[in-house]
Amino acid sequence: MANQEVAGRKPLQVLEKIRENLERLNDKMEVMIELQKHGRKDLQQPLPDAPLDVMTLLSMPDHLRKTAMTLCRMGRATADEISGQTKRARAVESAYLNQLVIMGHLKKERNGRKAYFFVDRENQR
């Protein structure tokens, strides 16, 4: 009985794990594609917690500023929600958001299948 339950649940868990890993891989690939497109200059000095203040926004390349500004207004959003505001493709926004996470300007957390991005203003000391 116990073996049957394990046998029935395990493939689902394995598939879920594969899906999660594929999504993470996809995020990383999107970042790599964008880096190739814009060069590595966006990530010259990645910082663990780089404050997303207005001067940082001003110094960003235009494509990243648009994404960052939209997220600032929305507070917390998925790539899909940002894409709805900027009218750029979801995959493009996902890549820019992940770039901003790597640069230390944004935080990312998963809630089920969705990845939420936000500016962690209060915890930056």
């Binding site: 203040d53 001067m55 001003l58 500023r65 500004m69 600032c72 207004r73 500016v119 930056q124």
Partner: protein
């Protein structure tokens, strides 16, 4: 028709261009039009709204809200009794004490980032939850953190400027190198104009604004001796409803009301 509330930042390149005069009178005019208006003094380096409104004490200043030590409700003062009709006028003040000015001048980037978050949160707390039609932000001149925070938070930026040469050059640079980057809807108000009596004079100014700034002109304010004589002691929109300055403000308020 207004669909949702709007945040309007009043900014300038140089000081003394009439930002506070414009902010206060525009807020009062919109309130006279029956709108629910909130006016904030975000010029923390040279606060002036408390003096103009003759308010010496308040439960909380906007400094406290941005410091995270009080809720926004406690920094709001209701001045609706000074408004005719059904409008509502609420103000939030910057602390004019020297110590407070010094404190605000010494803030670091991380504080400014949190302050931006608190300004952005006003869209929810004031416009959405409390149903304000307008939040007007009177800012510091030039490219300072507090004024850029206000610009980033705003839906519309009104730039108060004069025909002073250094002001024209600085304003033009600011429009291209700051507002364009943030993709902000911007309108210019030309203040202290010496000759606008003729139609040709107005057209010349309109043409100059189009050529130099390449943004829409919201209004032209002549240099009124009455304003200089008042020395910032009266709100024209409330106390002198028939004054030409009040009429100009009414035209501007109507244009802003009609913007989508």
């Amino acid at each position: 028709m207004i669909v949702m509330g709007k945040i309007v930042a009043v900014h300038s390149y140089k000081g003394g261009t009439g930002k506070t005069l414009l902010s206060v009178n525009l807020a009062a005019t919109l309130a006279e039009h029956g709108r629910k208006v909130c006016l904030f003094d975000l010029d923390f380096r040279a606060p002036s709204l408390s003096t103009l409104l003759k308010i010496e004490k308040t439960e909380c200043w906007l400094n406290d809200y941005l410091n995270g030590t009080c809720e926004i409700d406690k920094a709001l003062l209701d001045l609706s009794d000074k408004v005719r009709d059904s409008g509502k006028l609420i103000v939030g003040l910057a602390n004019p004490a020297t110590e407070a000015i010094r404190d605000m001048s010494a803030k670091d980037r991380k504080w400014e980032m949190r302050a931006l978050g608190r300004l952005l949160a006003l869209r929810t707390s004031l416009l959405n939850d409390k149903g304000f039609d307008y939040l007007i932000l009177d800012t510091s001149p030039g490219l300072q953190y507090s004024s850029i925070n206000a610009i980033v938070s705003a839906d519309l930026v009104l730039v108060a400027t004069t025909f002073d040469r250094s002001d024209v050059d600085g304003t033009r640079r600011m429009l291209r190198e700051l507002y364009d980057l943030f993709e902000k809807k911007t309108e210019v108000v030309i203040n202290k104009v010496l000759d606008v009596s003729s139609k040709a004079g107005k057209e010349e100014i309109q043409s100059k604004v189009n050529d130099v700034y390449e943004v829409p002109l919201l209004g032209i304010v002549p240099c009124f001796c009455d304003i200089l004589k008042a020395r910032g002691g009266i709100i024209f929109a409330q106390e002198k409803p028939e004054h030409p300055f009040t009429r100009i403000l009414e035209e501007m308020a109507t244009k802003i009301d009609k913007m989508g």
